[in-house]
């Protein structure tokens, strides 16, 4: 629940009044009476106080004692070893979110982990944002000035920072040139790349490559994101924290309250996509798929996202989505602030099906979140999504609006199959994409690179 101090405010809703709409000819069911919808979604003006990070034992009911025992065993021989994580932001974004949970857990296992954030001016972050987009494949002309800005801020940070730890982990390209300190550092250096490098802008990649090749190892989030490099490359799937506000179990009464506030009718099937309003998430395609599917099955669509208030392109996409949705009262569009994790959690849990119809994707942690909640999930076969959704086993992969519409219809009319997908999906996350699995990977990597403990190898070696 939100803190008592939080203030409720109201912001404009996409639909200020319900309009009668033409029921499709083939509609299976008449629309039942719906609860009155809030015309303005309830959001909070300021973020609530941060929730304290959980302890390792708090995960016991989720992953079991044996899993935690394994982590403690792996950590035992690493006792006293130290790590440093370096990234470019302390708040916001998936990397900071992950480090906020990972660092205390490693500390609890007596692997002291420091977390440093590089500093830079607006010019630096403009350059690194452009690099980020270029590495994702966008057109970009790398200028000498951009290179100089990148190198100057990296050098400034390098002079300021010390690297005495046994392992230094540099996250993403922004601080990559800190590798210049490797020669004066006793530890092993690892580059953790959270970006899809499968089709990078060649100029930017060739500029960064000489830095990356100086690391002892690189880590990617999917096999398909890796590059040909002369250093070992490891696969670390991104992860979710099952105890975070976005993923923890919720009281049914809270889920109902959130649905009531947003006018979501829980007596009818709910199809939900949670994503910022970004063309790469194809929210317009989701609306089109929903409209096609609803010719055959009764359902509502919830598009819950953010990014429209602080991103001009997001606002444009939101406008397009509203235009395509028209005055359809069964399409509920919510532009939520980033601190509405509990509400997003509730909407996912209330959903009959979750969709993530991305056209391009990093790993797609919203898919992981949906799978963890046991929801039958339909998602675009892009980026890291196929690592999570094994078609027809842990979810359904789609490649088009029509395919998405068909799978919505299929899952809504085959609830037993949908439920099995949901069960498999949750197990898949439990085995591969939880925070505890991430801790295990870091401990294994530390053991491997520092050559600590029992030698690693295959069972036949």
């Amino acid at each position: 629940m939100k803190s008592q101090a939080a203030t409720n405010t109201q912001s404009p809703s996409p639909h200020t009044e319900a309009q009668p709409h033409d029921r499709p000819v083939l509609s299976a069911q008449p629309t039942p009476l719906r609860p009155e919808r809030r015309t303005l979604p309830r959001t909070w003006e300021t973020p609530p106080a941060p929730v304290p990070a959980p302890h390792l034992d708090d995960y016991q009911t989720i992953v079991g004692t044996a899993e935690l025992d394994e982590l403690r065993f792996l950590a035992r021989e690493l006792k006293g070893k130290t790590m440093k994580m370096v990234n470019s932001t302390a708040v916001g974004g998936g990397v900071a979110e992950m480090l906020n949970r990972l660092v205390p857990l490693l500390g609890e296992l007596e692997v002291t982990t420091h977390w440093d954030v590089i500093t830079g001016g607006n010019d630096f972050f403009e350059v690194t944002k452009a690099f980020h987009n270029a590495l994702h494949g966008s057109e970009y002309q790398l200028t000498r000035s951009a290179q100089e800005i990148f190198l100057a801020y990296n050098e400034q940070n390098r002079q300021r920072m010390q690297f005495r730890e046994d392992m230094v982990v540099i996250h993403d390209p922004q601080p990559a040139a800190l590798i210049g300190s490797r020669k004066d550092s006793p530890g092993r250096w690892v580059w953790r790349c959270h970006i899809d490098l499968s089709n990078p802008n060649p100029q930017v990649w060739e500029f960064l490559r000489p830095f990356i090749e100086q690391f002892d190892a690189a880590i990617f989030s999917s096999q398909s994101f890796a590059r040909q490099l002369p250093i070992p490359q490891y696969l670390f799937y991104p992860c979710i924290d099952p105890l975070s506000e976005k993923n923890k179990d919720l009281d049914e009464s809270f889920v109902q309250k959130v649905c009531d506030e947003f006018g979501v009718d829980r007596t009818r099937p709910i199809v939900t996509q949670v994503s910022r309003f970004d063309r790469l998430k194809d929210p317009v395609g989701v609306v089109q798929a929903f409209k096609l599917a609803r010719k055959y099955v009764d359902c509502q669509l919830v598009l819950a996202g953010g990014g429209a208030s602080d991103d001009p392109e997001g606002a444009l996409v939101l406008k397009e989505v509203k235009e395509v949705a028209g005055d359809d009262p069964d399409i509920i569009i919510l532009d939520l602030p980033p601190w509405c994790a509990l509400e997003i959690n509730a909407l996912q849990r209330a959903s009959t099906i979750v969709v993530q119809k991305s056209i391009k994707e990093g790993f797609g942690l919203t898919v992981t979140e949906a799978l963890w909640k046991g929801k039958p999930t339909i998602a675009g076969a892009v980026g890291g999504i196929p690592n999570q959704i094994i078609h027809k086993l842990t979810g359904m992969l789609v490649h088009s609006v029509e395919g998405c519409a068909y799978q919505i219809r299929y899952l809504l009319t085959h609830p037993d199959f949908a439920a099995q997908l949901g069960r498999n999906g949750r197990e898949h996350v439990k085995e591969n994409f939880l925070m505890t699995t991430n801790v295990r990977r870091w401990l294994l990597l530390l053991r491997t690179l520092l050559r600590v403990g029992t030698p690693t190898g295959t069972p036949f070696s």
Binding site: E70, I390, L393, T458
Partner: protein, 226 residues
């Protein structure tokens, strides 16, 4: 297991059974395949760890799935290449019939070679998704469970992680180089329970989940204790 007289259940095992488990760190190797010809080339030269990863580890990573999945090569043939015949052939490879990765690699190579002889055009056709060869580095760890009696053994079976079940029941044959597993070997050699050892070894790992395997093993062991 050939001939050993069945010994009474009250007999103390010659030596205790130490439940271990293993953790895996995944490496992305340099091999990848977009066509069947490339898959064949990579199958011939990839490290043994990659064969292990894609044939044995699939059963662990997806231990909760009962149907439609046996190894990564078969899955790729079906989903990325739409070649159900080849997928069936690759899926029929039962890792329990191999005690060395060299033999297992050879079996996969033979299947792909034969398919390409019969369907030469398939060799150049691009797959919808690339097959990336990975490999696993493994750390073996002890657990707190040690069985000095059969009831201890049942308790261990009930409480260890599925990783431990995979380690002793599936990965084991590469280590002990026998068509058996650690549990059956202990029951046979150190407890003298030949029939129970055989019954455990007959459990089909491809049609059930690893939790189902655990339940079946427990049923067999507990029945013998009743």
């Amino acid at each position: 297991m050939t001939t050993t007289a069945q010994l009474p259940l009250s007999r103390t095992p010659v030596k205790p059974f130490y439940f271990n488990t293993s953790a895996h760190l995944l490496r992305i190797t340099t091999q990848k395949a977009n066509t069947l010809a490339e898959l064949l080339d990579a199958l011939r030269v990839c490290p043994d760890d990659s064969i292990f990863q894609h044939a044995f580890r699939t059963l662990q990573e997806l231990h909760f799935i009962r149907e439609g999945f046996s190894n990564d090569f078969a899955h790729w043939a079906l989903t990325a290449r739409n070649e159900p015949g080849l997928a069936e052939q690759l899926a029929s490879v039962d890792v329990r019939e191999f005690t060395s990765l060299g033999e297992l690699r050879e079996r996969f190579v033979q299947i792909v070679e034969k398919h390409l002889q019969l369907n030469p055009a398939d060799g150049r056709r691009m797959a919808e998704e690339t097959f990336y060869f990975c490999a696993a580095d493994i750390v073996v760890m002890p657990t707190k469970f040690v069985a000095e009696t059969l009831p201890d053994f049942a308790k261990g079976l009930r409480e260890v992680s599925v990783h431990s079940i995979h380690h002793h029941f599936i990965e084991a044959r590469l280590r002990i180089k026998l068509m058996s597993n650690d549990f059956s070997q202990w029951l046979y050699e150190d407890v003298g329970l030949t029939d129970i050892a055989r019954a455990l070894n007959r459990i089909d790992i491809y049609t059930v989940t690893l939790e189902d395997v655990r339940k079946q093993m427990l049923r067999i062991v507990e029945r013998s204790l009743a």
